[in-house]
Symmetry: C2
Subunit: 369 residues, 2 copies
């Protein structure tokens, strides 16, 4: 039986997972503590504090869900929504549609506000839907990983008014572009670890505003999931009268990795990190345009950390396999409407470096010339 494990060292320039800083890998391998050990509880508290800084929020209820980003998405939907509740969801790609799927399974009445792939959700269209159905919540994806388009969350709250809870998927935006949970009036914001945080996949950072926490406390039906029930999870992640209450065994090693990944984000400075993503992403987009690729997302809404392109003549989707095998570079193919026609290239977190963009562009050039 082959041992030890020996995965090749890929340069991860797909839509995630992104490259991981060596100090985060070191943190993963630290001695495991018990999930109720006071030393681990201190690490949990520091992790929540750092998440608040990165989410730009003062929400007490802020912690990582013990699953990947999609578990955070599901936790958002099923805790906020009760059967029969109404929600308006912006859909302009795979991940908006996924939220609608989860909300439907939770028994909610779902109203979709759609936009073409590669374009942002229109805040006015969300506002109009809200005035029409008076929903409990509005949800949208800040940075659509399937298309490379961002939606103007800051304008959404203005259009939908103060009433609905605002749920935002920040899986690909957190720590990569400006995101202001409190300033923008976001009530529930979830993310993943494996994008601009540059931590391996496995946890879903999430934050709930006091208003969202109250809505959960006011439920009259149980949350359909035991594992993702925030009314129980909060007793483990927050200090209560009797200390911490065991719920499930936290994924200790992954929390270590997140702790360290967040430390690196804050050491760099959130705004400097946003600027780095912006600069490197623009550089790549110019280079790819020069090579004959067309940018897929509409001008004005392009994510710097995730560039989507349509392929020029002479460039086949199968080249991705040669990039992987001959150059050890992973990039992503298209999802849904973009399958076979679109490439998705991430310059995220630790990977958002001009040298990585240059290595990719040179490799593509070598393959197509």
């Amino acid at each position: 039986m082959k041992s030890p494990l020996d995965p090749p060292g890929r340069l991860l320039l797909g839509p995630g997972p992104s490259p991981v800083d060596p100090s985060v890998l070191d943190a993963l391998a630290k001695p495991v503590l018990g999930h109720m050990d006071p030393e681990f509880v201190a690490i949990m508290d520091q992790t929540s504090d750092r998440l608040r800084s990165v989410f730009r929020t003062r929400n007490p209820l802020t912690f990582p869900v013990s699953g990947t980003g999609s578990a955070g998405m599901e936790a958002s939907m099923i805790n906020v929504l009760e059967p029969g509740d109404s929600i308006v969801i912006g859909v302009n790609g795979v991940f908006g549609a996924r939220m609608a799927d989860a909300a439907g399974r939770a028994g909610a009445k779902v109203t979709l506000v759609e936009a073409p792939w590669g374009e942002p959700i229109d805040p006015e269209a969300l506002g109009s839907a809200v005035r029409s159905v008076n929903p409990k919540a509005v949800a949208l994806v800040h940075a659509e990983t399937s298309t490379g388009a961002q939606s103007p969350v800051d304008l959404v709250r203005r259009e939908i008014g103060p009433a609905p809870l605002l749920i935002v998927d920040s899986v690909t935006s957190l720590a990569g572009i400006a995101l202001e949970v409190d300033k923008w009036g976001i009530d529930v914001c979830f993310s993943g670890t494996q994008k601009c945080l540059s931590v391996p996949p496995g946890l879903a950072p999430i934050t709930f505003s006091p208003r969202a926490a109250q809505a959960i406390a006011d439920r009259t039906t149980p949350v359909q999931s035991w594992y993702l029930d925030v009314s129980m999870l909060r007793k483990y992640w927050e200090e209560g009268d009797g200390g911490r209450t065991y719920h499930h065994t936290a994924p200790v090693s992954m929390v270590y990795a997140l702790w360290e990944g967040l430390r690196l984000v804050l050491e760099e400075g959130l705004e400097d990190r946003w600027a780095r993503h912006q600069e490197v992403g623009e550089f790549l987009q110019q280079e790819l345009t020069d090579l004959g690729f067309k940018l897929y997302a509409k001008a004005g809404c392009r994510l710097p950390q995730l560039t989507s392109v349509t392929l020029p003549k002479g460039v086949d989707d199968n080249l991705r396999g040669r990039l992987l095998n001959d150059f050890d570079i992973e990039i992503g193919g298209g999802l849904g409407e973009g399958a076979g026609k679109v490439w998705r290239i991430g310059l995220m977190g630790f990977g958002a470096k001009r040298a990585n963009a240059i290595r990719l562009v040179q490799s593509i050039r070598a393959l197509v010339s």
Copy 2:
């Protein structure tokens, strides 16, 4: 900001997480691959193969759920049960009750068959309940982590007959005591990584018999969870017509750790590992009895890998804190009925060593003398 992360090196002798072999920690820190990388898919396949060996099953549908053991529990319940389905659940501790909670949230009609804490579930009582309510499924915990008692799963199938699906929680039993998924007629078996597999917490190995897989395929209602929907998860973990279908981003590093942890189990040999747990557990139980502790679980059903004891006069539950702080040894307190009165001591996986039992007993003796 303190860096690097520097958790103390505890000897983990609680009910889990258990001590982790250094080679598993090394695996955690290997370079991250993309979740669709062919090299990672090969690791996934090897992981499923190894899980089949450890579960003693030929079930094709065998993989780790991307969450902790409780996520595996929930996945079992919500995929097998549709609203209105009937299930009989054996409850003799916290984890049986947890299954009942999850089944109830799934809309199932739940019939409990209870046994006193510290005692096994009576297979005849399950059989009698099955004849009375004719359920779709029967569920019980093989090794109750809250009490240290095991239930005779091998006898359960005989008593309940061939009709109901049999769901077994093997969180604390897998790789610690005999467990025979196919031979015993188990249809759904879930576990956790942080007990006798000695891998950090974060994944839930699970296996479904062809009959259970068919029951899921025959559902007329969607599974309430998107994240844990096995009909979608199987398209990622099993090779289909078009290869693998992306569902969520797998927790790559944790899969590495499980891959390596399973390799160590199979290198040792499953039956040798069971024997090691038996020998070391019996040694500890004799030593603790000599010290004046009373074994909490009933004779004949005591788990070797998890010893529960009631405290003798002069031994206070607070001593656990001194064991942790002064001796760097973690043991567990009681849950539920046992809170404040019971200690739970795990000798699991890499931690199931006579030297660890001796170190614990000497430390307790030093504290109480």
